[in-house]
Symmetry: C2
Subunit: 162 residues, 2 copies
């Protein structure tokens, strides 16, 4: 799918915010932020990045593709793990520098650590945070992993960087 | 709130992914991505950025603060518009470079254009995208603005950049 055909040039703020054509803004690294939620539960599953090629692939195929910043490579979500994300709705924000994917998960999980969502830990705030003596303690919202990443991603490098 | 107290040092991948302490990763610009959803509807309202100071302020006050990249300034959401976001749950992702705020909206809207959510337009994909002759057409999911930005943000510069 030809990105010069499907993406419009960004000409004016009004066109971008109140217009009717897709005119995404890619940052200095050529990336746009992609937020992915579960279409059934509304849960935030992950936040990833897309370049123009990968956004076009997602639009073309209806399956989520991302650009891995740690591997600097195109990434068809689920190609290794089988945990494919079928796009059910795709939306773009006011200034068109962020897309929202509402997806159906196959395999029941999205996170490379093995949890359903990447957001499996709560951060305290307000009075609870004031009372903490040192670094803020995280509370797990998921206690059981959906899959064992040692098996699913055997031999693959961990994408998390310090 | 002292960021050197509430944030732990990032020592190992295991500590970051499977540990119990908050150890956020700020990027080369000192920012972490913040995804904000409506705690009642689950709708994605906006995606913003936070630096260490602003994340600590959000944790301390229980109200969403962001860092405006276009204005390079701290931004207490709702200070101008009255559309404050009360944090009801705060979560962090596996590699701790993204936070998820589940908020209660005052004023019924979040987007500076006047809509409830910043994500008020759908992008076609699959067969519908293949059939489009030129730039992909966007379809509005919200048809009525909640407020008039010309009144609420009178005299303020528009944050959208081309």
């Amino acid at each position: 799918m030809d990105t010069s055909r499907i993406f419009a040039q960004r000409r004016t703020v009004e066109q971008v915010e109140e217009g009717h054509e897709l005119a995404p803004k890619f940052d200095a690294q050529g990336l746009i932020t992609a937020v992915t939620t579960d279409v059934s539960s509304g849960e935030l599953l992950m936040v990833g990045y897309m370049n123009a090629e990968v956004l076009a692939l997602t639009i073309k195929t209806g399956e989520a593709h991302y650009f891995s910043r740690s591997r600097q490579a195109l990434w068809h979500k689920g190609a290794t793990s089988g945990l494919v994300q079928k796009v059910r709705e795709l939306l773009i924000d006011d200034d068109q520098d962020c897309v929202w994917l509402r997806v159906e998960l196959s395999g029941g999980a999205s996170c490379h650590v093995g949890y359903r969502s990447c957001f499996y830990r709560q951060v305290p705030f307000g009075a609870e945070a004031h009372a903490a003596p040192g670094p803020l303690p995280l509370r797990y919202t998921e206690t059981e992993k959906v899959f064992d990443p040692e098996i699913v991603y055997r031999g693959q490098p961990n994408p998390t960087k310090l």
